[in-house]
């Protein structure tokens, strides 16, 4: 599974929607339940899954899935 697919699995888990599909441009306005609270859960799950830690400034700058993927790539290389 590539990073996007792995992240998609995490999104599906957090939002409890087995068929959810995300792309690099998916952002909070595309997913109804993506609010500040689910955002925290996404970050926790992603950090745990990829065994990485985002800095506070990185977390606050995340706007869309593409940002996430880039960050994960930069930290797991």
């Amino acid at each position: 599974m590539n990073i996007l697919e792995q992240v998609q699995e995490i999104f599906r888990d957090v939002f409890d929607e087995e068929t959810l599909v995300i792309t690099e441009t998916t952002s909070a306005k595309d997913i109804e339940d993506w609010d500040s609270l689910t955002h925290i859960q996404l970050v926790t799950k992603i950090e745990k899954h990829f065994k990485i830690r985002f800095t506070v400034s990185e977390v606050t700058k995340l706007k869309q899935v593409g940002d996430l993927i880039q960050l994960i790539e930069s930290k797991t290389l």
């Binding site: 888990d13 409890d16 339940d33 609270l37 925290i40 859960q41 926790t44 506070v56 977390v59």
Partner: protein, 594 residues
């Protein structure tokens, strides 16, 4: 129950990740999950930290326990506003339970460097007084139970090793403040978040990024454990807690198998690491017994062999410590039922400790209501496993808990006495029972609440009360909280019966009547009725009205009022005409009126 509710019920939320619990919270909201015919409990959460996840996860825990809950969450950093403003939404909500979550960062004034102990103590007192004032304000305006987190000692401190060597350090100040908060009204229960942070390890507990990002004082991964403490407190205040520890013998209390190895062969050597581990576990068990936990043995053994183990000179547990001893070859699930029956408790009061995973599995499967402790392979960790399960996290320890152990031991002697009498009346006389009874005072409140909330079987209306409720009722002249404190020639029992009587015009209504099943058929029932009649007559009432509300567990008292000479007036409602009824004789000597 629908499938989702069933799944939720089977969840062990304390073992789940916080993200999983939040998912459950959303499912509950989205699907409108709720239990039918379950009364709602009203819980409010106010904190000077982010409480959103805490509140959501608390709801999952409460529903997991089969409780329907109505929650109110104060705004961020709203403790002072909600409590000091009499018009606040908190008071409009009228919580039964108020959870206050202050933060160590709320403390703005610390001792100055070089302050004396006396100056430090004054500041401690001043800070504690602020919280006591908040509690008093709440309790006057809205009687309820308050759960408040204590202050978590920080991990990093400017004074390093001096922290514990000088009186003016933050470490000393916060520790003293936590102790000072112990001076509190009975309705306030402190929750040891600092203790939890120690258990988890402070370097794991704190997460500065989470604090700055989300205003959360600790890493969210610890939410399930944190909420679990609050849940246990709420459950135990409501009377749901365990009373009996059921122990296996071979490789649980000692190393080896008594049937094969004999009394000389079992491992209990204090000079051997393994023997020491078993002995240390026995000491832990004894310290639970001291606080009132009833001990039972459930072992696959010949009874004579099993008891032989207790003759080992190094045994710390003695055969007299065991209130119920079952050793046979039956399956443990049915033996647990026998144990519960003989101790007059339900199986949901049992905690099972057995080194054999197969036995644990059987019990989990056939008695899911029993708490099964996950016993580690190495006996060195038995004590930790026992403590970390927090199975006996009681809301208070009363005189009665400590007396119960004596009474259970006295039961054997009482049984022996019973066989000497053919006539039950003569047996009752020979017990030399005496009672101190009447309307309760402050000293009885704690036990009154405990017995009222934990009695399930002898409980006519299953009305639960909080200490706050009882304090209010004691002030009300149209209300009487009556208790009976019993002793016999073998042991004192403490308070074993509690009733609440309410004057409603010319009727006196029995709001609640509970009794400990340990003293069933001893004449306490008629003594209690006599007290109710006297109180009703003192109010000038003509009739005493009793009602039976069936619950899952109180079938045993369905005919209670008929047995007591009441007449049925409508379904489950009975009356006793006070102008006709005469006080019945009792074998219990009323020594003293409260």
């Amino acid at each position: 129950m629908n499938d989702l509710l069933k799944q939720l019920h089977e969840l062990k939320p304390q073992n789940e990740e916080y993200t999983e619990l939040l998912k459950w919270s959303r499912r509950i909201d989205k699907q409108g999950l709720s239990f039918e015919n379950v009364p709602k409990i009203k819980v409010a959460v106010c904190g000077s930290r982010n409480t959103q996840f805490f509140t959501k996860i608390l709801q999952v825990f409460l529903m997991n326990q089969g409780l329907q809950v109505s929650l109110y969450e104060g705004e961020y950093d709203s403790i002072r506003y909600e409590i000091l403003n009499p018009e606040s939404d908190l008071y409009r909500f009228q919580p039964e339970i108020l959870i206050l979550l202050p933060n160590t960062s709320d403390i703005t004034r610390y001792p100055a460097l070089l302050d004396s102990s006396k100056q430090v103590d004054e500041l401690v007192e001043e800070t504690a007084a602020y919280y006591r004032n908040l509690w008093d304000t709440v309790l006057t305006q809205n009687p309820c139970v308050i759960l408040q987190a204590n202050f978590v000692l920080p991990l990093e401190n400017a004074l390093d090793q001096l922290e514990i060597n000088v009186p003016y350090s933050k470490t000393v100040f916060i520790s003293k403040l936590n102790l000072a908060l112990m001076d509190k009204p009975k309705q306030v229960h402190l929750i040891d978040e600092n203790g939890l942070s120690n258990e988890i390890g402070k370097s794991k507990w704190f997460d500065p990024a989470n604090t700055f990002l989300n205003k959360a004082p600790y890493a969210y991964e610890h939410l399930p454990h944190t909420v679990w403490i609050y849940l246990r407190k709420i459950m135990s205040i409501r009377g749901t807690y365990r009373k009996v520890l059921v122990l296996d013998l071979d490789n649980t209390l000692w190393g080896g198998v008594i049937g094969d190895d004999g009394v000389e062969g079992i491992q209990l050597d204090p000079n051997n690491a393994v023997g020491e581990a078993y002995l240390s576990f026995q000491s832990s068990v004894l310290s639970l017994k001291e606080k009132g936990v009833i001990l039972a043995v459930c072992s696959k053994n010949e009874e004579s062999n099993a008891k032989l183990g207790f003759t080992h000179p190094n045994m710390r547990l003695k055969i007299q410590d065991i209130a119920c001893f079952i050793a046979n070859w039956n399956d443990k699930a049915s033996n647990l039922k026998t144990i519960a029956n003989s101790l007059n408790v339900k199986t949901d009061a049992l905690v099972f400790f057995d080194d054999n995973p197969a036995e644990r599995l059987i019990v989990k499967q056939f008695c899911p209501e029993v708490e099964v402790i996950d016993v580690p392979e190495d006996p060195s960790f038995y004590s930790s496993a026992l403590y970390h399960a927090h199975a006996f996290d009681w809301p208070q320890i009363t005189k009665e808990d400590l007396l119960r152990i004596k009474a259970v031991e006295g039961d054997l002697e009482r049984e022996n006495l019973k066989t000497q009498f053919v006539d039950y009346e003569a047996y009752l006389k020979s017990l030399d029972m005496s009672a101190v009874a009447g309307r309760i005072g402050t000293a009885q409140i704690e036990r009154f609440v405990q017995l009222t909330n934990k009695s399930n079987q002898f409980n006519l209306r299953t009305q639960r009360v909080s200490e706050a409720d009882v304090i209010e009722m004691m002030k009300d002249e149209n209300c009487a909280c009556i208790s009976v404190d019993l002793s016999d020639r073998f042991s004192p029992y403490g308070i074993i019966a509690c009733t609440i009587l309410k004057k409603q015009g010319s009727n006196a209504f029995i709001e609640n009547w509970v009794m400990s099943c340990r003293v069933l058929n001893r004449g306490v029932e008629s003594l209690t009725l006599n007290l109710l009649i006297l109180q009703a007559k003192a109010w000038g009432c003509d009739r005493l009205i009793g009602e039976y509300i069936p619950s899952l567990k109180n079938e045993m008292v369905s005919q209670h009022y008929l047995k007591m000479g009441f007449t049925l007036i409508k379904e489950n409602t009975y009356e006793c005409d006070l102008n006709k009824h005469t006080i019945s004789e009792s074998h219990i000597l009323l020594k003293e009126n409260l």
